[in-house]
């Protein structure tokens, strides 16, 4: 006797996916994660968001020595990154190369994601002249955006990715234009002269004992890397805490305000990324808490409003 829930599940699959798929969405997502460690390739991709369109080259080699990756922005100011096994070796013109690398690698975990996103295999199409399968991740609540992932049918590699908001507006597009799976030479992965190695001393990290935690977090998001450090010399330290639901990510920044450092409640948007600032007061000292992430503005607002510290009314600003 088949369980009733199973019957319902298969009925749903039949309705939404008339063509039988060899793999389910979870398997496709696992394949996408595995492809990074298993495939060597070079290619070109575009990235587009509101107000920005950029083109990039990538050389990616996975072999017994691990994963090596060289990334080069092909337009505008040259920007280059070289990574070995996930660790950044050199970078160009980055404003803030901070020691975030200690963050544990975040693997795609379909079991975790499926609690917060409904998976669906939408069908097949073609990206970068390769057959691709489209997997949709639709949020089950209003606290995250939807994703469409276009995966290479042969290798599982992510060929294209769309980020879509609750009003079905496209926020961001990542898309390969060209992909080549032939062997890569060492020279192809060699950093150019403009890629500066990251040997400069990192700012001192302090232990976070500030207790700046929002009173509310959207369900499914868990705390990741946390640190306290000054963004530049001579400035008071900033508390930084990362949260993620396994796919979406936001960062909380808290730092003290002063006469020279005036700020007020503010909402900002850069492409898919929202930033919400709230002024808080503890024992007469003003602080600025800012939520930055690829999450719906209303969600960020709610997190920012949830600090159990006295919020400063906007009109009371000096």
């Amino acid at each position: 006797m088949v369980k009733r829930s199973l019957c319902l599940a298969s009925a749903a699959v039949l309705m939404t996916a008339p063509l039988a798929q060899a793999k389910d969405a979870g398997q496709w997502l696992r394949g996408m994660a595995d492809a990074v460690d298993q495939q060597s390739y070079s290619g070109a991709f575009v990235y587009e968001r509101s107000g920005s369109f950029s083109t990039h080259h990538i050389w990616h080699r996975a072999d017994e020595d691990g994963v090596s990756e060289r990334l080069l922005r092909a337009d505008g100011d040259p920007q280059e990154w070289v990574r070995r096994d996930g660790r950044l070796q050199c970078a160009t013109s980055f404003a803030t190369v901070s020691d975030w690398q200690a963050t544990a690698p975040q693997e795609i975990d379909p079991a975790r994601l499926e609690r917060w996103y409904a998976f669906e295999v939408l069908g097949g199409t073609r990206v970068a002249d390769r057959p691709a399968t489209v997997v949709a991740l639709k949020p089950r609540d209003p606290f995250r955006y939807a994703y469409e992932l276009y995966l290479d049918e042969d290798t599982g590699l992510l060929l294209k990715s769309l980020l879509i908001n609750e009003r079905n507006v496209l926020l961001e597009r990542f898309q390969f234009v060209d992909l080549d799976f032939s062997e890569l030479s060492d020279a192809a992965l060699e950093a150019g002269s403009r890629c500066l190695s990251l040997e400069a001393a990192q700012p001192e990290k302090l232990v976070d004992d500030s207790g700046w935690l929002p009173g509310w977090l959207p369900p499914g998001y868990s705390a990741g890397e946390s640190m306290v450090r000054a963004l530049s010399a001579g400035e008071p330290p900033v508390m930084t805490q990362v949260y993620s639901d396994g796919l979406a990510r936001f960062t909380v920044f808290v730092e003290p305000l002063s006469e020279e450092r005036l700020a007020d409640n503010l909402a900002a948007q850069l492409g898919p990324t929202v930033a919400i600032s709230r002024r808080l007061q503890v024992q007469g000292q003003d602080y600025l808490a800012t939520i930055v992430g690829e999450i719906p503005p209303a969600t960020a607002e709610r997190i920012a409003a949830s600090f159990p510290h006295a919020a400063v009314a906007a009109e009371a600003a000096p």
Binding site: S54, S98, L158, F174, V242, T251, F253, N265, Q269, A314
Partner: protein, 210 residues
Amino acid sequence: MRNEVLQESLSALMDNEADELEVRRVLQAADQDPALRSTWARYQMARSVMHKEPWQGSIDLSAGIAAALQDEPALQMESEQATPATAQGSVLWRNFGRMAVAASVTLAVLVGVRMVNQGDAPTQPMTAANSPAPSMLQANPAARTGAVLAGYSQNGAAETAAEPLAPAQAPSAWHEQRISRYLREHAEAGAQSNTPQLVPYARAASMEGR
């Protein structure tokens, strides 16, 4: 001709999504309306800022477009009411596109950051997806009903769309700079963590200072 419709057409033209009817509509109206011409010029400047392209604001594109159109075969006229469902979808995109153009006028330290003191920051859209068939963007019928559009018209009146956003209180220079710094920190942290995706890297690499 309702001003709102004209603004939509102009937006569509700026987004390279205008059909011939709309191009003609804008050209004709711009001929008689100096205000529209200046709006058009502002849109062009805003777009060039968005794309960080060098732009000569004094160049008038309308003459060139009109000349090109004269060589085209006669267009098929369609009434507004008879617009097919797919075109309605594109009207929706256009309107979001208009918001994006308006938003980009307010520049911060990072190119493209839109800031408002208090209140909601409506998410900035980008161009319509010319995506292939299996796409949620096209699959969702809600995108075609225009209900979302109606909600937007209330907030962002077409008449004010071209004006720079003027919050009651502009953010302090320090705060502006800080928001840019936070955005970079957030993006670069995402790019440095060992994710299987290239998207966080692309986000970080796409950021350019003023």
